[in-house]
Structures are given as C-alpha cells and as structure tokens.
C-alpha cells in the first residue's frame, strides 16, 4: 500500500499529465549543478560533450530518438539503477534529478523558473 505522501505525488503527476504538451520544467541552477556531477561522475565514459565517450550517447538526435517512447521517469530509473557503472545508485536523489536537468539542457531544452521535481518525471519526456 502506498504511503499518503506517495498518493499525493501521484495526484500531482496525474494533474500534470493533463497539461501534456508542456516541456519538462527545470532551472538553470539544477542544470549547472548537474553539469558538475556529470563532469565528476560520468564524463570519463560518456564524454565531456555527452556524445563523445565510449559509452552510449546522452545527447543528440540518436539519443532523442532512442528515448522518444519513454518517460523521463524511465530514463531516471535506468540512470539511478545502473549508473555510475561501478557504483549504481550511489548518488543523492537531488544529484540524479540535477543530472536529468543537465541532460535536458544539453538536448536543447530551455531552463525556466520552475524546478524539475521527482513527481514530474512520470509525465515528462524527451519529445520536443
């Protein structure tokens, strides 16, 4: 059974899905913080530009096409459960969220006033 806090989050995310076309919101501060984590924890394998390491590309048309059918929550799930490769799940929840914001920014999404929240992941996508 879900705890009350979770059902609230569920309601919020359902509400957000009604406003479908809206691009995922995140702030510049989140993306900047994500960039720092990325540089320290991910760049060695995925490349400084997100698409120039040996590991799969995290930016560009190929990446967007690959993830087009999935929610940001799916992306966040894979990231938190498999990365960084030798210590999956070892970063703080806020750091993983900031990484999503950074990946969004590097894929051409614009930061705004509203921060990316865990609850918004389910309805957000990489679709433009």
């Amino acid at each position: 059974m879900p705890r009350p806090a979770q059902s609230v989050a569920l309601l919020i995310s359902l509400a957000a899905s009604a406003a479908l076309a809206a691009p995922p919101a995140f702030t510049k501060a989140q993306a900047d913080a994500g960039a720092k984590v990325y540089k320290a924890q991910c760049a060695a394998c995925h490349g400084a530009a997100l698409n120039n390491g040996g590991a799969p590309k995290l930016a560009g048309p190929e990446f967007l096409k690959k993830w087009a059918a999935n929610s940001l929550d799916d992306f966040h799930f894979i990231m938190t459960s498999t990365m960084p490769q030798t210590k999956p799940g070892s970063l703080k929840p806020a750091e993983y969220l900031n990484l999503v914001a950074y990946v969004l920014q590097k894929n051409g999404f614009k930061p705004g006033a509203k921060p990316l929240t865990a609850g918004a992941l389910k309805t957000g996508t990489f679709k433009k």
Partner: protein
C-alpha cells in the same frame, strides 16, 4: 531472418595488398586443429577448446629471449577481446564492426572489412571468427551473421539473426563444422530470450534453432514456473562453442537468467541458464546438460566455452564460471567429478536482498569470457580468474526496450582491490597446483599453454607474461604499451619459426573510464 547479398558494402572492405586466394581450412584441418602447430584456427584453437599448442621451440629454458617483432595498431580504443586466429600465415581478428587480416609474422595489413550496421546495438563486443573453406564468418553487434572472402575481405552473405533494438547481439566467435556455422545470441542482461542456431555455411540459411529458454512442451519448460517470465528469460551465449567431433555433440555455455537479480520474478531452476547444454550438432536436438547455478540472482553466468579433455582414459568436460568455480564432468557417466573454487567465494547461497548483500565475486569477476586452458603436458587446467567483491541489491523490475533489465543493481569494490590470477588445477581431481596472482590488476584474457612448459597470458595493465607451467613462476614479461589485455594469446609457426600473437586493448568500450590505449596485436618470437 532476412538475407541479402551485400554488393554495396563491397566498398567497405579495403584490400591493402595483392589479393591472396584462400581455399581452406578443410573439414580435415578443422578436425585436427586442437593438435596443429602451424595454425590457430578457432577462438579456443580447436573444437575441444583446449587452448593448448604442442609447440616447444620456445620453452621454459629460452623464453626469456622472446622479442616483440611488430605491433599492429587498430587505432580504436573500443573493446578488444578476440584471440588472433591464424591460417596459412595470416592472422584474422575482430574489433567491434571491423574484421582484420594481417601477416602473422610481420603485422603487415592485408585487408580490413568494416561492417555497416543495419540496426542499433547495446554492446559492441566481438570475440572473433570462424574460418572454413576460404570463408571468414563472424557475428555483428546488431545481431547479423556475415560471411567474408578470407583472401580479400569481400562480403559474401549477410543474415539477420535477431532484432538488435530489443538487446540481441552476436558477440561469440562462431564455429564451423560439417558445412554449418554455429552461433547463438547474447544480451540476457537486456531482457532477451536467447537461442542457439546452425546456419548453412554456403548460403547463410538457417538450418535449425534451439531455444535456450524452453517453453510449452519443450524439455525444461517446467523449470520456469511463471511462463510469462520466459519472454525476457535471458540465457546468453557470449564467447564461443566446443564440439566433440567423435560424437557430433555441440557444447554451449549459457549465461544468466533475466532480470539478473530479481529471482522471484522467474521462480524455478530456469533452464538452460547458467548451464552447459550439449546438442546434436546435426539436428539441434537436446542431448544432455549440466546446470551450475539454479535460479541465479547474482548475474553469475556460465560464460566461457567449455573444454573437452581426456584424463586417465576418462572423457571429461570442464567449465569455469563467473561465480568463481571450476567444474569437471565425466562425459561417459554424465556426472560431476569436482567443483573447485578458483577464488574467494562468499555469500553465494544467500538470496539477494533490498538492503544489499556483500558477495564475492562481483559480476565483473570470477572467470569471464576466457575459460581454462588444458595443459596436456602437465595434466592441468589453467584458469584465468579474478578475486573481487561487491554488493548486490534487489530493486524494481522494469523492462525498458534496449536498456539493462537488472531488477536490482551491483556495486563493485574499488578496482584496486581486485586480484588477477592464473591458477593451475589438477585436471583429474581439481586440486590446486600453483597460483600466479597480480594484486590490483585483473587477468581476464585468454590463457594459453604449450608443449614448451609455458603458460601465456595477459593482465589488465598491459603485461604479457609467460609462466613456467610446472610451477607458475614468471619467466618472461613485457608490457604492450600499457594497452589493457582483455584478449588472448595464440601461438603457431610460420616458415618453421614459432610466434606468439597477443591482443591488447580495452576490454569493453566505455567500461573503463579515462583515455584508453588503442587496440593492438603484438607479435613475438625468439631473436
């Protein structure tokens, strides 16, 4: 299955020297490959998979005089796990999308073929080729099987084997036997349902399919108590295959079930995962199997190909696993003779939990893609194996197309804590004879033994080593430009002179952070 002749991709194979016509090896040559001294025809040398050469020109007394004669640089830092395969003075090997032919004594490039993938790929690792009747066969990262002219690298046929977008790929070096090419899929960790196949060597047409994850009325289907879970049941064939030419049986090592860590999602023994299954090579019919781990929840594949050998007049099959065990089976009585730990093994019997379970080894340790070498001279099985622990955790089971399907996670201890080993075990009893250990440096590449009392291998700091097969004592060492060794060593003669060819480079593209030295083949001989 789709087939087409690839006239267009002809342009992609660059002939770097005058074309040479290659017509062999014949079935007769393939049958004697295990004992041959002027060739190294298969990934594990011959059908029995022994990785042993009777050559003794270079031996324990003179190996210190070994010198590197040349180095061929592939100019790519991607995964490089092949063993150089040699026929008529030419080395053949693969790296991701490219297939190379170079002179086995001088490194002079002869041709290179670059495969243009038709689909995406979740992993680009490739372990090598099969050679027969003038044709090179290999699998591709987008799950095609292709045939190339061995003399020129020109494509002959291309067969799509599976849908790579859901995680299927072909990383194994195929084996050719009696006009058929044998290969199976890898990709269990991405939630595939693997198969073993035979294809017609001339046309690329599929001859038979064996479901490594049985369903319906197939033998073993009752080991999947939830029928639904078979759709993503896993069961990769990662490396290569072994054949008993006397009985016509094909031996296949089958990897872990999926989701890797969430065993309760797939109750039952989960055949034929973590098993060696023996099939009738002609028909693909099930013959027998041995399962090393039931209902695995730690990603402990049986990955390396098995080795067939005779000891005290008894026919044996041995296999080493990622869980860090060496098994030997009596192939006449069809029973297990010994099960011997090759490294520290901890908490393997305990279930994976949400809180996390400390285990040894982790899923990147034990015996990975390179299995035992059977040293005919000393009656030992020499096994590359890594001591390295970690924490395994149960998590959410969520299938996302083309992504890892783990149902949990595995954290690895710092890489500096890993200990590489090459260990010799008595092939009859499993008793340890000697151990060569390299603390902080893994040994995952293929080990080779010779009639000169030499055990050759490589470590992940670029060290190529030769040990005395009687004691494990180091007799020779050379660092191959700091290129991590994940591939194997082969040995053969050219013009009566014994050479060694070593593959050095990365183990897996993206698996090691930082800048890697590009993949290279280094050739050695006595000078």
């Amino acid at each position: 299955m789709k087939q087409h002749l690839c006239a267009a991709s002809l342009l992609l194979s660059a002939l770097l020297s005058p074309a040479l016509a290659v017509s062999g090896p014949s079935q007769e040559e393939l049958n004697t490959a295990d004992q041959a001294t002027d060739s190294w025809l298969m990934y594990n040398k011959g059908y029995m998979g022994q990785r042993y050469s009777p050559l003794d020109q270079v031996n324990a007394d003179n190996v210190s005089g070994l010198r590197r004669v040349c180095t061929f640089d592939t100019k790519d830092d991607g995964g490089f796990q092949a063993t150089p395969q040699m026929y008529k003075g030419v080395l053949f090997f693969t790296q991701m999308y490219r297939t190379f032919a170079i002179d086995a004594a001088t490194c002079k490039p002869l041709w290179v073929h670059k495969y243009k993938p038709a689909g995406t790929s979740v992993l680009t690792t490739n372990r090598g080729v099969a050679i027969a009747d003038g044709v090179i066969y290999r699998g591709t990262p987008d799950a095609h099987l292709i045939a190339l002219d061995a003399g020129t690298g020109k494509p002959l046929w291309d067969t799509k084997v599976a849908d790579s977008s859901v995680g299927y790929f072909l990383s194994a070096a195929p084996v050719v036997y009696n006009g058929r090419v044998y290969i199976g899929e890898a990709g269990a960790d991405w939630g595939i349902k693997a198969h073993m196949y035979a294809f017609d060597a001339k046309t690329g047409k599929k001859a038979w399919t064996f479901d490594l994850i049985p369903t319906g009325s197939q033998y073993g289907a009752n080991t999947w108590q939830k029928a639904d879970s078979t759709a993503t049941g896993g069961g990769s064939t990662w490396t290569s295959y072994t054949i008993d030419a006397a009985t016509g049986l094909l031996y296949v090592s089958v990897g872990n079930p999926a989701p890797d860590f969430a065993a309760q999602y797939r109750p039952g023994d989960n055949l034929f995962t973590n098993s060696v299954v023996a099939l009738n090579a002609e028909t693909g019919a099930y013959d027998h199997h041995y399962q090393q781990i039931r209902n695995d929840d730690k990603d402990y594949d049986t990955a390396a190909a098995p080795v067939l050998y005779d000891v005290n007049g008894q026919k044996r099959m041995a296999v080493a696993t990622k869980a860090g065990w060496l098994f030997s089976y009596n192939e006449t009585a069809k029973n297990q003779v010994f099960k011997q730990a090759t490294i520290k093994v901890t908490n393997q019997e305990k279930p994976t939990t949400r809180a996390g379970l400390n285990i040894c080894p982790n899923y990147s340790a034990g015996t990975q893609w390179s299995g035992p070498s059977f040293d005919q001279l000393n009656n030992t099985l020499v096994v590359p194996t890594v001591d390295w622990c970690g924490v395994v955790k149960l998590g959410e089971v969520r299938l996302i197309k083309g992504q890892l399907f783990f149902g949990g996670s595995m954290q690895l201890d710092p890489a500096g804590k890993a200990i590489g080993n090459a260990v010799a075990f008595d092939a009859a009893t499993g008793q340890e004879r000697w151990r060569y250990s390299t603390p902080g440096v893994r040994i995952v590449g293929g080990v080779t033994t010779t009639g000169g009392n030499l055990t050759l291998g490589g470590a992940m700091d670029g060290t190529f080593f030769a040990l005395d097969s009687r004691s494990g004592k180091v007799l020779f060492k050379d660092n191959i430009d700091g290129a991590l060794i994940g591939g194997g060593v082969s040995t053969y003669t050219v013009g009566g002179q014994q050479y060694f060819a070593v593959i050095a480079g990365n183990t897996s593209k993206g698996a090691v952070s930082g800048k890697n030295v590009t993949g290279r083949v280094a050739i050695y001989t006595l000078r």
